[in-house]
Amino acid sequence: MNGPPPPAAAAVPSLWRGAGALLLALSAWFGGSASAADPLGRFPADPTQVSVAGISSGAFMANQLHIAHSAGIMGAGIVAGGLFGCAVDSVTGDGVLALASLAVGPCMSVPTLLKPVTSYAQIVADFAARGWIDSPGNVARSRVYLFTGQADTVVNSRTVELGASLYRTLGVPASQITFRDRDLPGAGAGHSWVTKNFGNRCDANKSPFINDCLYDQAGEMLQTLYGPLQPPAVQPEGRIVAFDQREFVPGAATAANGLSDTGYLFVPKACESGAAQPCRLSVTLHGCLQSAEILGSEFYTRIGVNEWADTNRIIVLYPQVHATTVAALPAQNASSLLNTNPQGCWNWWGYGSDTRYLTRQGVQIDAIWSMVRRVTGQGN
């Protein structure tokens, strides 16, 4: 998808190509969202083989999804993020008070201000007692992969270590956890999804936050979650499907809730309707500044996941975030600025006035879970 243009396109004078691109951009601006993608379809996927993964804010969201829906999610891949309740200041009667300053401070860059792991375990127990998340007893059966780069200057390694510690505290045996932070070239990985052969230098901390570290993160992650797998495809034969995310958000208010109108799905040939065997489903979440609105197809085609999915009957769901500004919020008031999501991150500090963002009732968690139920043929 990011390769050179086909010969016919290359022959078109650049001016006309520019005009064409402008027209395409204008049509997307004025009519793109109205003529959004098709509805998400059902596939022969086994609902007991659903895993979640993500990087950075996507890792925090993957962790939240996993803990909120632990009865239906069998494993989580957490890259450079993820500590449940890290941005929570206090729990109130009907939700939580979470702070962006806790997210960017203790959770990302000042680990000395993180609380002991028992504090986060207490939040999990409290939410379970209120019925906001599935029983944490399910988490103990999970398989978990965690990764932090030694050269990561965005999310401190201590946060990821504490995330691993929380999983152990919740009863996940050490044999079911893979924690990777070393044995990479040079100074180690920067803040990124790490690949074997694509992206920035291994120690970079910059866009697209996909780094070439000669390490197949997708492979080790998926094999931690699903056990030994067939080797990856050199060129995936499955298809990418764009789907409409609006139906999964109350009032179709995607932008106000930090979600894009369009999400993507990778479907291996072996997982099309009428497949002989049921497939697995991996929900894979991009990080801040990595949505399709910013990177185009780069994240959902170049992180090495589709190659493994193609040969191992794994459908990959890539939900997408939208960078929400004040103008997209339903009401403008004195608190509007505190509810924006300017970098297109998943909600792990309660923006959009979502005081249940890390529970089953969180708007984004509920939307993704409804997508999972649709793909696995359980929901509407």
Binding site: S101, T112, A334
Partner: protein, 150 residues
């Protein structure tokens, strides 16, 4: 035209509406004050927790006396690292307090603003009831006589 008794009745109704609006305004101000006090309480509690945490950390990290040049170097490096950490913590704590204060004042402002908007709507409705709109007389038809100056 309305009779005097009807006007008097309208006037009473108007004053009772105004009184109700004023009572609701007072309620909103009370709620805003309560939110402000809660916000100040939360801020004070966080400040106390932060001070306690800083004290605990500084007592927990007592430097040992250097006994050789290499240990002196290690001690100095340790002190610099510790100072950087303290500065980062102070900045993070300050950001947390600022956000709490901003959220608290935002809550107060939202309460007062939404009450102000509601009060203006209620006042408008009360006024419309008290002084019913009287239709203006139709303007006299202008006729221009042929030959008269325009």
């Amino acid at each position: 035209m309305d009779g005097p008794s009807q006007l008097f009745g309208n006037g009473l109704k108007y004053f009772s509406d105004l009184l109700a609006i004023e009572l609701r305004n007072m309620e909103a101000i009370g709620l805003a004050q309560q939110k402000m006090l809660e916000g100040m309480g939360v801020l004070a509690q966080h400040q106390a927790e932060m001070a306690e945490g800083a004290l605990r950390r500084s007592f927990g990290a007592q430097p040992s006396l250097p006994t050789s040049p290499s240990s002196l170097q290690a001690a100095v490096i340790g002190q610099i690292t510790s100072l950087k950490t303290t500065m980062q913590e102070s900045q993070a704590n300050s950001n947390i307090l600022s956000e709490l204060a901003a959220r608290s004042s935002g809550d107060v402002a939202n309460i007062l603003q939404s009450r102000m908007f509601a009060a203006l709507d209620e006042f408008k409705a009360a006024l419309e009831q008290a002084i019913p709109e009287v239709p203006l007389p139709a303007p006299a038809t202008l006729t221009v006589q042929p030959g008269s100056p325009a």
